[in-house]
Amino acid sequence: MPQHTGTPVILALDAGGTMTDAFVVDDTGSFTIGKAQTTPHDESLGVVESFRDALHYWDVTAEQAGPHLRAVVYSGTSMLNRLLERTSDERIGVIVTAGMEDYLQLERSVQTYAGYAYSDRLHVVTHIHNEPLVPRARIKGVRGRVSFFGEEVLPLYADEAKEAVNSLLDQSVTAIVVSLLYSYRDPSHEQEVAKIAAEVMASRGVDIPVIVSSTSTPVRGDLARLNTLLVEVYAARPSRRQLQAVGERLHSELDSTAAVRVLTSYGGTVSPDHESLVSTLVSGPIGGILGARRLAELYETSNVICSDVGGTSFDVGLISERQVATRTEPTVARFLLAIPTIAMDSIGAGTGTRVRVDPAVRRVTLGPDSAGSRLGMSWEPGGESVPSITDCDLVLGYLNPDYFLGGSVDLDPDRARKAILEQLAKPLGSSNVEETALGVVRLLETEMRDHLMGMILGMGYAPENYQMFAYGGGGPLHAAGYVGSLEFQAVRVPSWAAAFSAFGCACADYTYRYDRSVDILVPPAGSREQVLGLLRQTWSELEQRILADAARDGIDPKEVNIVPSVRMQYFGMLDDLEVQVSSQSGDAEQVIAQMMVDFDSLFEKIFARAAKSPESGYFLTKAIAVGTYPTEKPVIPEFVLGSKTPSSSAEKSSRKVFEGSWREARIYEMDELTSGNVIAGPAVVEAPATTFYVPTGYQATLDRFRVFELTRS
């Protein structure tokens, strides 16, 4: 390894259930990756260990590097695990509108099959209700009603609210969540309940948090709203202390002054002090999209399809016209949540996907379960009993058994061969292991390609207008296969594909986003003054919250760039789309007219021109404000293009690969390749964290950013 000269400046962390990965970037754009065991009792210990591990490749100590850190970005799964395993210590009490106390028992049907494979979604017998986060005895109803139009239909029964609070306190709750119907239209009933709760608590000498939906999540959709508050209190907030401790340890042990930021599902970062931590619950595949957006800037392209092949899933996201689509009501861990989330679609197909033959119909089935970190049959310590895609890649010669994860994991091709023969080939009436393995890999790649096509064509886009970025540990290995006959503008495989998500995390800015339901009808004709007045009032409320957040995190409010947007639909439409308000200059007529034009053109792109229906007017569902503050980002170094022929030191050896018949493939070491090198297939480019397979008929060119461009030769 060459002598390292840069100064480490960025640390991006991915704390999984078992391992914490650290991705360290220096001021020249070089990076290194470290791993350490996750330490659930105090995550900061694992974080520092992981940082040390990453730095040792550069012969730098954490103490030397610490003071130079300028950005620390964290993403992790501890909140999600707390939710999935129901291990929180929080005893939540809930106050809802009387008659609605069975929210968690009734649920919405989508929660009874969320996350299932297609066949299980169809078969009602597999649907099941979730264990409620709060038992029925701690959910109290209070009479009173505000209508959809924000009018008080029934006054709040204050004595019932008092009784409810007392009853919950008798049950020793640790927090009270209040979510009343249509409180986002008129919060007065909720505020009254909060006031009563404060009085009762004061008289009883108790002090616990009271969370009110109209303050923290003022959006339509009462189950998702209640769930969001519950998950916030149950799973997200208990992590706040842990996240703060990460920053404290980096400061006390390593003398770092960089603020720790946490990645959110809408693609920015917030500080651990952020009120709504639930938005950081899922951020796993988001990093990749952010990385792709950064890379798209370099290539000056506005349309990118991002494909991430991990061990368990194949995640696809779209960047269209430089915009990433956002969804507002995702299901997470089988809960509908009201948190804005970058739109990604995943299927259960990855390198760890388990492969079986259905004995009744003799058909190959892929997953949907995965060997995950246990890899497959070829890794004996994993204890797997079913072959995986990795096993197939191994017997086909695409993977090097002695260089998997840089040689730190020994794979046994004979175990893989035996498993594929016994469990797949024989039941299919074949004795040819390679033919079977190739068939399985092609089936997987076909499923992936169908998924890609569904994403692009389903939205009415054409692959010809998109560049495809393939990353994740398995992306480079299968990219040529799953792109297949799709004619993308370009297929790009970053040489740092395995760490691409972490790279993306490191690219995230400080981003504060607030949504609020407004439900404003814009009739086809009439004055726009009142509409814009209402929007401006809401935007300015949201802006105040953003500025308060920025001030809390020590950011100069003048440096925060705030962009207002709306979610809107044709009146009567079910779905809504997000439209950025490009200009607020001019009179109300002009501003609203421009919003309509922007919405129409977005609608045309996503649906169809013929389906536009502005006749009955437009409906504004939400007002949104997003404030961003740019932070230190990794530099992507640019190299001079050199010789097309790789240096002799780059070509390590050759190996037979099976592509229907055996062929001799050249084997390259990725680190030894230089910009400008052209690799003709069949070839395998190996790196410790990933393997790039260039099949016969393809060639890969390493460009000035050390990204491979895969083309047909």
């Binding site: 494979a117 066949s119 299980d120 597999t126 099941i128 004995p359 009744a360």
Partner: protein
């Protein structure tokens, strides 16, 4: 699947995550034999079970090679080709009074349109089957299993003769 898991499945004691695996998993041809083994170990008679026919009821092959329907208490209903219900004890609920023993008045059917027929085992008085039919409608013959085809073509072996 092992015998203990299957026994739990039959008794409805399998935890959800395991049950879900069974529901979503592939069909397992070997499971039929395992299922018969568990059932056989639970009945009081010695004859070989060919096929379960419903709760408590089995098609078995007797010493002389005849296929007969038996209750798990050992009571014999006669050859499988004949409707076992004809050999059972029947309670017909065809009046307001009898229907209201089990239903609230506003929930029951009108007995001039529909009656409930409960079929009991004369040996152990287990409730074996209930049918709802218009008065006068013949006793329903639920189904006639094609045991030979099932064994030969699905299980791929001959039907046990004893």
């Amino acid at each position: 699947m092992d015998q203990a898991t299957l026994a739990d499945l039959i008794d409805g004691k399998l935890p959800w995550h395991q049950l879900k695996e069974v529901l979503s998993g592939n069909k397992d041809i070997a499971r039929f034999d395992l299922y018969i083994e568990v059932l056989q170990s639970r009945v009081s008679f010695k004859e070989t079970i060919l096929l379960p026919l419903g709760e408590h009821l089995y098609v078995v092959v007797d010493a002389s090679g005849r296929r007969i329907v038996k209750c798990d208490c050992g009571y014999e209903f006669g050859p499988v080709e004949r409707n076992w219900k004809c050999a059972s004890a029947v309670l017909v609920r065809d009046s307001d009074e009898l229907l209201e023993e089990i239903y609230d008045p506003w929930n029951r059917c009108d007995p001039s349109w529909e009656e409930l027929r409960e079929f009991y085992c004369p040996g152990c008085w287990s409730l074996l089957e209930v049918e709802a039919a218009p008065p006068g409608y013949p006793v329903m013959f639920d189904f006639q299993p094609d045991i030979d085809t099932f064994y030969q073509e699905y299980l791929g072996r001959p039907v046990p003769r004893s």
